[in-house]
């Protein structure tokens, strides 16, 4: 226990215990401060948090990070391999200004594989905060600047292009919006449903608890993947994209809330009989007050951990379904959807860079797992008391 006031000096029964050397007003660290202090100690989870943060920034400001409009089709540059950003030209001359060469292709006379070559004459300097296509930041602030780009006439596809000649990096950034938002939204629904049912089950108990727990068991026994596939395939693609987004998220939330409901119920059960809950009832606190002020906050650490473990699950499931063509449909794009081109061995063998979205999925999944690891330890700073 932290040494407060005169823990060692004798307390007088009837006189006020004053801390002689303390400042005039003591205020302890808030919950968030305590969590942050403990979280900071875990370097792996800091890295995880940064990974998520970077992905989130790339997704939210995807237009800023794409030099060319990711939805612009350019049939002249289909399946361009990633372009190298160079500092040294063909004569071995170094310049601080990076540049790219225009690429052109010919076919290998033996295998008829396309072979990409640099055109040394067509050299375009890379510029930063360059003017480009117009877009709206966060959907309402119009702007036309981009983080990087090249001089007029050139291209810079740092991760290559897809089969319609669209910049893959820009597409991936944009797809991150759906992939991340969908998993967050699904996790949010899962938390909402799981918390409500978990609290009700644990707090009121009795036959209601029995009923809800049997229901949870039934839901848990349903094989998730076939269910998702079946439900996703019946969503009409003609519907409003946003509606499809919400429905997809709900489909994923449909099965995963059970884990959370169990966790919350267990925590509520263990805290329900503690003295401070009894004390709250003794004061005349209403059920909502007991639940929201005294009971539910104690389950939050578990909720956060379950959340960070469920998000990667949803990201993977969504990628899987979209890859099969059962999930997200154009005009919405997700990481899994972007990889659909790679479902033929031929295309994949010739254009391996179209697997790049997989790297982003790996980063996202690892990031959330690392983050969850640190949050689990940090989220309950009062446990030491």
């Amino acid at each position: 226990m932290s040494a407060v006031a005169p823990a060692a000096s004798p307390e007088s029964a009837l006189t006020t215990v004053f801390d002689a050397h303390g400042p005039a007003h003591h205020s302890s660290e808030t919950y968030v401060q305590l969590v942050w202090r403990r979280f900071r100690r875990n370097q792996v989870s800091i890295v995880g948090g940064l990974m998520i943060l970077i992905l989130a920034v790339l997704a939210i400001f995807s237009d800023f990070f794409s030099p060319t409009d990711p939805s612009r089709i350019d049939m002249k540059s289909t399946f361009t391999p990633p372009q190298r950003v160079r500092f040294v030209d063909e004569n071995g001359q170094f310049s601080f200004q990076p540049f790219t060469y225009t690429q052109t292709y010919s076919y290998d006379p033996d295998t008829f594989e396309p072979v990409w070559l640099d055109v040394p004459d067509e050299k375009y300097r890379v510029q930063f905060l360059v003017k480009g296509y117009e877009y709206k930041i966060l959907g309402f602030i119009p702007w036309d600047r981009h983080l990087y780009g090249v001089e007029e006439g050139g291209t810079v596809y740092i991760l290559g292009t897809d089969k319609l000649g669209r910049d893959l990096f820009g597409r991936i950034c944009q797809a991150g919006r759906i992939s991340l938002a969908l998993s967050l939204f699904a996790a949010f629904i899962s938390i909402l449903v799981g918390s409500v049912l978990g609290v009700v089950s644990g707090y009121y108990g009795g036959w209601l608890d029995g009923l809800l727990q049997r229901f949870v068991e039934v839901v848990q026994s349903i094989p998730a993947l076939p269910l998702w596939m079946a439900l996703a395939s019946v969503v009409p693609i003609t519907w409003d994209p946003f509606l499809i987004f919400v429905i997809m998220a709900s489909i994923f939330a449909l099965t995963i809330w059970t884990v959370l409901a169990r966790e919350v119920r267990g925590k509520v059960l263990s805290f329900r009989e503690t003295d401070f809950i009894l004390a709250a009832k003794e004061m005349g606190a209403s059920d909502p007050r007991v639940i929201f002020r005294h009971l539910y906050p104690h389950t939050l650490s578990h909720v956060i951990v379950v959340l960070t473990l469920q998000i990667p699950q949803i990201i993977l499931a969504e990628a899987f379904l979209s890859f099969l063509g059962l999930g997200i449909q154009e005009p919405l794009i997700s990481w899994g959807y972007l990889m659909r081109d790679s479902n033929s061995l031929e295309t994949l063998g010739v254009n391996p860079w179209i697997l790049a979205p997989a790297a982003f999925i790996v980063i996202a999944v690892l990031g959330f797992n690392f983050l969850g690891d640190g949050l689990r330890d940090a989220a309950d700073p009062y446990a030491i008391a």
Binding site: V4, E11, V17, A280, E282, M283, G284
Partner: protein, 354 residues
């Protein structure tokens, strides 16, 4: 502070309880049975009779001690009186400040709420009875918020006042419970209990979780506050020497029943029940020259789900005779408010402290 309204209709009011004018609380035949459920279908196969017919009267501003071994039902009795558990049977007559009597056992939770301001509890464990996520200010101020007495700055002022009253530095109101020692935490609990100016306090072993060196301080504080604020106290404890220090009268409980009630001093000097005698003999005397005969009770407390026939104490009683196995003795008046539940209360000359 406005006094709560007592115009609440009371559904059942058989007969106005008897007793002196100054009775603030009268408990009649209070029972609290907990069902035992077994098997897949959770069928009720029996009852734990935690409180099995408790009667007593509490005079205004007196301090009544409720003593007994662990598991004798004293804590359950306290909680049932405050309606933290719904009584299986019995009446809890509370006299409001305007003289009206209300049977708390008949009230719904909603109807009970205004009375929660006047009847409060101090919890045994200062570590588990304070929500670790709330600051001291939120903990002490919570009753004020729940009963809409004070908010914001007004609440802060009241909390500061209460903290000073219980001997805590009000500057610490932004701190969390884990930053305090056990004694300080119990003071926080006490401040919370006092925050609504209660009339009756049920203190459930308020010092048994504390270090012996701190016990006396908290006890003195409790005594000083109850005297100064004119509070009525039910003091639940298992330690007779602690109860003797605080209380005017003592009720001894055994297996869910009160076996003896008397004034604190008289009970210790002239116990009439063999169980009380055994308890009294265990009180350490301050004088090393005094040699008392320690009475060691044989066996364990019987299972409250299956209490012995007749007098519940007879299997462990040194003086038990055949009648004790068959007939359950009544709580008999031995004069001057001395009540005892024993067939031979008048015949046995039992040993008290000198």
């Amino acid at each position: 502070m406005p006094s709560p309204k007592h115009a609440m209709p009371v559904s059942a009011r058989p007969s106005s309880p008897a007793g002196g004018d100054d009775v603030i609380l009268e408990i009649r035949d209070l029972k609290q049975y907990f069902p035992i459920r077994t098997g897949l279908l959770q069928r009720v196969t029996g009852h734990v009779k935690a409180v099995d017919g408790v009667d007593f009267q509490l005079q205004s501003q007196e301090a009544l001690g409720l003593v007994g071994e662990s598991g004798c039902g004293k804590t359950t009795a306290g909680r049932t009186i405050l309606r933290l558990y719904d009584a299986t049977d019995g009446e809890i007559w509370y006299t409001c400040p305007d003289g009206e009597k209300v049977d708390l056992a008949q009230l719904s939770d909603k109807e009970m709420k205004p009375y929660r301001r006047e009847l409060r509890m101090i919890f045994q464990d200062p570590f588990s009875s304070l929500n670790p996520r709330l600051t001291v200010m939120d903990i002490i101020g919570e009753p004020l918020v729940i009963h809409k007495v004070a908010r914001g700055k007004e609440m802060t002022e009241r909390v500061a006042e209460l903290m000073e009253e219980v001997g805590l530095n009000p500057n610490y109101m932004g701190r969390y419970p884990h930053e305090f020692s056990g004694g300080q935490r119990q003071r926080i609990g006490l401040a919370r209990t006092l925050s609504l100016n209660p009339r009756v306090i049920i203190a459930d072993e308020p010092v048994s979780a504390l270090d012996v060196s701190v016990q006396a301080q908290v006890l003195n504080l409790l005594e000083e506050l109850t005297d100064r604020l004119g509070l009525t106290l039910i003091f639940i404890a298992h330690d007779l020497s602690v109860v003797e220090h605080v209380c005017d009268r003592i009720a001894v409980m055994y297996l869910g029943q009160i076996v003896e009630i008397d004034n604190a001093d008289a009970l210790l000097r002239r116990p009439a029940h063999p169980y009380t005698e055994a308890l009294v003999s265990a009180v350490p005397a301050a004088d090393p020259d005094i040699r008392m005969q320690r009475i060691i009770l044989e066996g364990d407390v019987p299972n409250p789900a299956n209490p012995p026939s007749g007098c519940v104490f007879h299997p462990r009683c040194r003086y038990a005779e055949d009648i004790c196995k068959e007939e359950r003795p009544a709580l008999e008046d031995l004069g001057e408010g001395h009540l005892c539940r024993c067939h031979f209360a008048k015949e046995l000359g039992l040993q008290g402290i000198a």
